[in-house]
């Protein structure tokens, strides 16, 4: 048994401490240690985007980040996106455009879309589709997701 590591990081704006095994991914720690189960395990190899989080503001696959790597850094998950009072505009647009069916891919898509709109507030449809290439959805056929992102860009 490897000795556990003590890691301090900012998670959704809060200073957080946790213990992890050096072999654990950020995704495993978010879900199994910190009980933040919004990030989903899809492929666990960097293809599907269901585990997307923002690491120091950059969109990453949390399955491809080792938990000890986040020491001293900040992580934003889907749980921290909205205020208790109101949904984030991207969340609202996903609801209004019915941009989800089973919902497994949705947290990843929403964070990826937020990262896009932060950088490019008025993307073209082509830019949206290109940006979201790293997120897979097996239900919607993507069209409603793309429309939701374009809709969110208008607000």
């Amino acid at each position: 048994m490897t000795k556990k590591l003590h890691i301090e990081a900012k998670i959704n704006g809060k200073d957080t401490e946790f213990l992890c095994e050096p072999r654990q991914s950020l995704l495993e720690v978010l879900r199994d240690v910190l009980q933040l189960t919004g990030a989903k395990e899809g492929c666990n190899n960097g293809n599907c985007g269901a585990c997307n989080v923002l690491l120091d503001g950059r969109l990453v696959n949390s399955c491809l980040v080792m938990a000890p790597e986040i020491a001293g850094r900040s992580v934003a998950t889907i749980e921290g996106l909205a205020s208790p009072q109101a949904l984030h505009p991207v969340q609202k647009a996903f609801l209004e455009n019915a941009a989800l069916q089973c919902g497994i891919c949705t947290p990843g898509f929403i964070l990826a879309s937020k990262a896009l709109l932060d950088q490019n507030p008025h993307p073209t449809e082509h830019q949206v589709r290109h940006w979201l290439a790293g997120n897979l959805c097996r239900c919607t056929g993507y069209d409603k997701i793309v429309r939701a992102v374009l809709d969110a860009a208008k607000t």
Partner: protein, 291 residues
């Protein structure tokens, strides 16, 4: 994932010490987009420790100087390279490759150094690095050595790094006057796929911009390692640049390729793609050199 350890050395000397002690049982962790998957999926069962090299200042370097060229620390992620306006203006042929590795999530983490050290025959950035005469700076127990990038990969997943050695920097010479480069790959999807064939080229033109004074043609996914096809580059030099000259270079690149047949495409298909991609990449590189 089996029990493995995590080390985060703060200097090259510390990293070299761990890599020397552990040998094959230690692997460098930059963006992790290849090594984490390989360890998790049991393709590297010997690995006991991941050595996170992102706390070593030299490995994070990214600097461009019009006189001395570009230095890319081996752990610098793709987005830092293409988001730097000076670099993307000076090296559009490199950006062609860097901006199509994986998706946005992968580009947040994956590095050119990691792409090179993973030594896949289909790596996107390696043909571009070869076309641009990149030099690899390697540190090890015996000090530092330099290797031209076309000599770095030795077999699929294998390279010249010896026990205790790590890639520190990729050095690209400054862009020459009237030069241009381009990288193209073919994949059946629009994004997020592994190259069926990749082609990286560079050209330097004479003052009249009608002849090549130097050219390099590099290919991916058609041999056990990325290739530098000297014959194709040499065939472009001195003759008047026209369609026939470009087609001849493309034919020589096809002749030098040694593709296998696999699920991404059979050998004949790949050889055909080499011709198409080399021709198109040369047309783009020449157009860039003329502007």
């Amino acid at each position: 994932m089996k029990v493995i350890d995590y080390a985060a050395p703060k200097s090259i000397a510390e990293a070299v010490a761990v890599l020397k002690e552990k040998g094959e049982r230690a692997r460098c962790l930059a963006g992790g987009t290849d090594i984490i998957v390989q360890v998790r999926e049991g393709k590297r069962r010997d690995v006991e420790v991941l050595v996170d090299i992102k706390h070593i200042p030299e490995l994070n370097e990214l600097s461009f100087d019009a006189k001395t060229g570009l230095r890319i620390g081996a752990a610098a992620p793709c987005y830092r390279v293409y988001e730097d306006q000076r670099i993307s203006n000076a090296y559009p042929g490199l950006i062609d490759a860097v901006a199509l590795v994986g998706g946005i999530q992968i580009q947040s983490r994956a590095s050119l150094g990691g792409n090179l050290c993973n030594s896949s025959p289909a790596a996107d950035t390696i043909p571009a690095l070869i076309a641009m005469e990149t030099i690899c700076v390697i540190a090890g127990p015996g000090g530092t050595r330099e290797v031209p990038v076309q000599g770095f990969c030795t077999a699929p997943g294998k390279n010249v790094l010896g026990r205790g050695e790590l890639l520190v920097t990729l050095k690209l010479p400054p862009p020459k006057p009237r030069s241009g480069a381009a990288y193209l790959r073919f994949i059946p999807r629009n994004e997020m796929d592994i190259a069926v064939v990749g082609a990286g080229v560079s050209v330097e033109l004479d003052e009249g911009r009608s002849r090549c004074t130097a050219a390099r043609v590099s290919l991916a996914a058609v041999a056990p390692t990325p290739l530098l096809v000297n014959e194709a580059g040499a065939a472009l030099v001195d003759g008047t640049l026209n369609d026939a000259l470009i087609e001849n270079a493309a034919r020589l690149a096809q002749a030098a390729s040694r593709p296998i047949s696999d699920m991404r495409g059979d050998a004949d298909y790949r050889r055909h793609l080499v011709g198409v991609l080399v021709k198109r990449a040369l047309q783009t590189a020449i157009a860039r050199a003329r502007t």
